[in-house]
């Protein structure tokens, strides 16, 4: 499983939980073995480590109780809740006035849903790249391939994909692994809309550019859960009202090529060159 994707999705989920429940002061997740999985922006790693250390003894001896399901600490100014989800522990720190029914409803629905979704989609890229190269579509040729989708599918042959990973490592591979984001497909159309370009949040493009200083991210790879993938140009979403909604604006032609439609989920990865 791609830990980075896992972490990224959970981190976003934790931040979203805090957006809808402002009474949650801190939220983070760790594994049974003490590994930090994801944390919100408010909680320093040092604090998370201390919490994990503090509960080490409790979790170690929890077998005597049949294993831990949840832990709740009530204090005069707030509350700490630790919920066990599979082999993960979700820690939330809330204020005294927090509506715990609401907090629990949100956390116990959203996080397991994200976890389930990640579990479901995570094997897809591995499966695609190793055993289903023929699934990569070709874009109808009205323009030259490099102008449209840069001929990604054509360049990637089955033989190349089956080669060991090491053979693909080049000197520039020291760059961090491109982060994978998930988006819901939105339609975009109009006379002036290029058919080979998708639009995502400007903030995300800035993050990618920060991640790869000196490199300009002009293209992305889009993968569907059905195993199709395509390379497209990327531009920021123009209207601010559409920003921050986790959507990718996609022309009909690309949707047709990828055999997807509005409302479906896709994975998007920046291409660093």
């Amino acid at each position: 499983m791609d830990t980075e994707v896992y972490s990224f999705a959970l981190k976003n989920a934790l931040n979203e939980i805090q957006n809808i429940c402002p009474d949650i002061k801190n939220a983070f997740m760790f594994r049974e073995d003490g590994e930090i999985v994801a944390g919100d922006a408010n909680t320093p790693e040092k604090t998370v480590v201390r919490v994990i250390d503090a509960f080490d003894g409790v979790l170690e001896k929890a077998d005597a109780l049949g294993g831990v399901e949840s832990i709740t600490l009530d204090s005069s100014k707030g509350r700490v809740s630790i919920s066990c989800m599979n082999d993960l522990y979700l820690v939330t720190v809330t204020t005294k006035k927090a509506d715990m029914n609401y907090v629990n409803t949100v956390t116990r629905v959203l996080i397991p849903t994200v976890l389930k979704l990640i579990e479901k989609i995570s094997p897809a890229p591995l499966k695609n790249s190793l055993s289903e190269p023929e699934m990569k579509p070709e874009i109808p040729m009205e323009r030259k391939p490099e102008e449209l989708l840069h001929g990604y599918a054509e360049e990637t042959t089955a033989k190349e994909l089956r080669e060991p990973v090491q053979t693909e490592i080049k000197p520039e591979a020291v760059l961090p692994e491109p982060p994978v984001s998930q988006f819901i497909v939105e339609n975009i159309g109009g006379l002036l809309v290029p058919s080979d370009t998708v639009r995502v949040d400007n903030e995300l493009i800035s993050q990618w550019n920060e991640l790869y200083p000196g490199k300009k991210i002009n293209d992305v790879e889009i993968e569907t859960f059905g195993g199709k993938s395509a390379r497209c140009k990327i531009k920021p979403i123009k209207e601010s009202k559409h920003e921050g909604k986790g959507a990718i604006q996609m022309p009909g032609k690309i949707q047709f090529t990828l055999e997807i439609k509005k409302g479906e989920l896709v994975r998007v990865k920046p291409i660093v060159e």
Binding site: V68, E69, K77
Partner: protein, 136 residues
């Protein structure tokens, strides 16, 4: 004037003495009433036992004596963890920590100078138990 001061000092000393004695009595009473309450709580549905300890003594009453060591470590770890978390997140005084296990639930809290942990079945009403303990 000086005499008045001395009288005043004497008075305040007497007051201190008068106050000190009831505190000691009160502590003893608290410990006794805590033990009495725990004995009563132990008879409640689903409660499987308790551990209570202070600086000088400890008392353990569990239906399954093979669990004594595990439960004692759990009790101590949970209370220590609660203290650490309260400090880390500036949550003030910890009032209780509940560890919901898949089969047994542990409720730990500090009553006066005593650290108390109660063990009960998962379905037992821990809120009721906590209310009774906070009444002491």
């Amino acid at each position: 004037m000086e005499e008045a001061c001395l009288v005043g000092k004497k008075k305040s000393l007497q007051e201190v003495e008068a106050v000190t004695e009831p505190i000691a009595v009160e502590e003893a009473t608290t410990v006794n009433s805590l033990k009495a309450s725990l004995e009563a709580i132990k008879e409640c549905d689903g409660v499987v036992g308790y551990i209570v300890r202070n600086a000088t003594s400890a008392s353990i009453d569990l239906k399954d004596p093979t669990k004594i060591i595990d439960y004692a470590i759990l009790s101590s770890s949970a209370l220590d963890a609660g203290k650490v978390l309260s400090e880390l997140f500036d949550l003030g005084d910890a009032s209780n920590i509940v560890v919901n296990g898949k089969s047994i639930k542990m409720v730990s809290l500090i009553v006066g100078e005593s650290k108390v942990s109660l063990f009960m079945d998962r379905s037992a009403d821990s809120e009721k138990v906590l209310r009774r303990l906070h009444e002491i």
